[in-house]
Symmetry: C2
Subunit: 410 residues, 2 copies
């Protein structure tokens, strides 16, 4: 007996048939003696259909109205699921973000949740209702509808779970858990039973697409365990939870990769205070998010600076740097779009020496050249030539013995 929040994505509610399946899963959870809150995305394809209509009118359409438009998608899915639950003999009620209230800031299209009032949901649960909540959407202080950005329903679900002090937040998706790496490029990839919030955050920010980063931050902040599992099976998935005493501290839990970045190098920069600030302000002014930054030690009063930006922003970043170069006086600005970032993540790194060294050696054995290196307490990332990505992932997966057989042997 507990309070369970279940989140289903667009694919899981993509047709009337699938909505009926979700209803059965929800009712089964209720019948096992739980209170159940369901958080839903729009039916798959619906959000795109709406955005296409808006784009037909104006590609640069009003962001407030964009949110009014796309938030209608969850309005459809929550009412249909509620009806489907009632055909199975349970009572249910749907709530929009504005009805709960899920309060956000006013940054339309990528709003952040500020606060959730759990009282309306609690009252409904106490009246033995199943509660169906629209994910992805909220309302700002002036009553304007906001949306959280793609994948925002994960964050809605965890935030609702936090507001209700739920026992678990189950995220149903089309994969059956978190894997040691992408199974599409490494057949030995295997599902993790448990992973810590910190590791999940690193994996998500390094390119694993299963959970929205902000949802993991929320879960960690409020101590809500997330259970990532498949909506097409009853298999146990992966639990994302806080690092426990008894938790086996794998040196490396997963290997991630990201092909969506490009690198830019500014050569021969006069080494004086304020230069880096000038450069990165110019880039931030264009709304471009910089990931890795590396600066070599200065030689003869000149230094080199290399950093990565999203591939989509590469041209814009180069142009804006050329515009300000007169004030900087760098010798050359160049870049490369054919790069990829491969990373290893694991809380065990904190206590094991030379994990980075093992990574570099493994890549070297395959003659993969490392262009940039970046580390955190539980992560090492290397930038390499893009075409070696798959090879590098497989090599690292093997080096750190992540395959099922290897794990069982050890």
């Amino acid at each position: 007996m507990g309070l369970v929040v279940q989140k289903y994505g667009g694919t899981s509610v993509g047709s009337i048939e699938r909505i009926k399946n979700v209803a059965q899963r929800v009712v089964a959870t209720k019948k096992r003696g739980n209170q159940v809150v369901v958080v839903l995305s729009a039916m798959s394809g619906e959000t795109d259909r709406l955005i296409n209509m808006a784009n037909e009118i104006d590609l640069e359409h009003n962001r407030r109205e964009h949110d009014v438009l796309v938030s209608s998608g969850e309005q459809v899915s929550i009412s249909l699921l509620t009806m489907a639950i009632e055909t199975l003999g349970e009572k249910a009620i749907s709530y929009l973000g504005s009805q709960i209230v899920i309060r956000t800031d006013s940054d339309h299209g990528r709003a952040r949740i500020m606060d959730i009032d759990g009282s309306r949901i609690k009252n409904a649960l106490d009246s033995d209702l199943i509660v169906v909540v629209a994910g992805f959407q909220g309302v700002d202080a002036n009553g304007n509808i906001t949306t959280l950005g793609r994948g925002g329903s994960d964050t809605s679900a965890v935030a609702v779970a936090a507001a209700l002090s739920a026992d678990v937040c189950e995220i149903y998706t089309d994969v059956d858990g978190i894997y040691t790496t992408d199974p599409n490029i490494c057949k030995q990839a295997c599902k993790l039973d448990k992973i810590s919030y910190d590791e999940m955050l690193e994996l998500a920010s390094l390119g694993a697409k299963v959970l929205q980063i902000r949802s993991v931050e929320f879960a960690q902040k409020y101590g809500i365990p997330i259970h990532v599992r498949s909506s097409f099976s009853d298999n146990q998935g992966t639990i994302v939870c806080k690092e426990e005493e008894g938790m086996e501290k794998a040196i490396v839990s997963g290997v991630a990769y990201n092909k969506n970045e490009a690198k830019i190098t500014i050569c021969g920069i006069p080494d004086r205070p304020g230069i880096a600030a000038t450069i990165f302000s110019a880039i931030a002014d264009k709304g471009i998010v910089v990931d890795m930054i590396i600066q070599n030690i200065s030689a003869e009063g000149l230094t080199d600076l290399t950093f990565t930006v999203p591939k989509l922003d590469y041209d814009l970043a180069l142009t804006s740097l050329q515009e300000i170069n007169q004030g900087i006086g760098a010798r050359d600005i160049n870049g490369d779009k054919n790069i990829a970032k491969v990373s290893i993540v694991g809380i065990g790194m904190r206590t094991h020496a030379n994990v980075a060294g093992r990574m570099f050696a493994a890549l070297a054995r395959e003659n993969i050249n490392i262009m940039m290196i970046s580390t955190s307490e539980i992560k090492v990332s290397c930038v390499i030539v893009e075409k070696y990505t798959e090879l590098a992932v497989r090599v690292l997966h093997q080096e750190f013995e992540l395959a099922e057989e290897t794990k069982n042997e050890s």
Copy 2:
């Protein structure tokens, strides 16, 4: 310079192209120096698409959730129109029923508007914005979404106009005004320039489908002129307004007909107090609305009672009467579905004698037998055999000289 409320129906916003056309019309009205509030229905076909999905789940689905579902339709149309207006260089903002607030009772699917707070719209107008409001929907005292029933957007528009003390409420539709009768069955039918609220109410309740009755009641109560016109032309339509001193008081303004009723006769009822109450309570308990009622004077302590009900409810009405007949002791209960009601409406009747007589004589000349008669201060209705409907309409249209040529001659 004035405050104009414009309402566009589903056909007028049925595609992106049409939404762009509506935007141009709205902006043109603004550029002529008016403040403009637009009230919209859902894109045509959208409400049906949503209802079909709900029916796939359960034909008897939850009414609260039904309203959550279908109200998403206007959410789409208002945001798209707002975007389209902004491409033309004007600023605009959309509001849902729950944002304004349009407060209704809790009768889901056919809620009645209780109150509209005009302050949010007024503030937006004062900031030089065009305001786009979702028709058809409101919110009850507990924050649940409600809908007003089919055609409810007309009522939304007039109610918004009343809350703002607008100068006029323009209802754009696919016909270009109110006609003296249905042009499909009488070629001589011609468009009226003006018609009084009272006449419009009678015409609407007698079967003319241009305006929802409740919208006319609202307009009359708050003295808001309604301008019914076509969204596909710039022609002047028909103004529905209060009866004015200078208004030409046509003896008859229009001829209406209704083929959706059936008649039921109860013969040989013992003529004692309480019998009529017993009969009509039994019918009202089934949710059936009775229209005309006629009782002949009693002969030998027995009387006959005839009344009309919607054709759809005919069988149910007959069954419930047979169930209670033991307590009544009537000799026979029978009915007829092949009937129609033809009516003439005009405020001039108040001051002209024998209008009814002219109607009966005109029908008699064509050998059309009259089965029931019902009158009000500005209306005479006759029930006839259904197959004579079109003939009766044409005869009455001619008798009261409603054709354009006849009018000009007089």
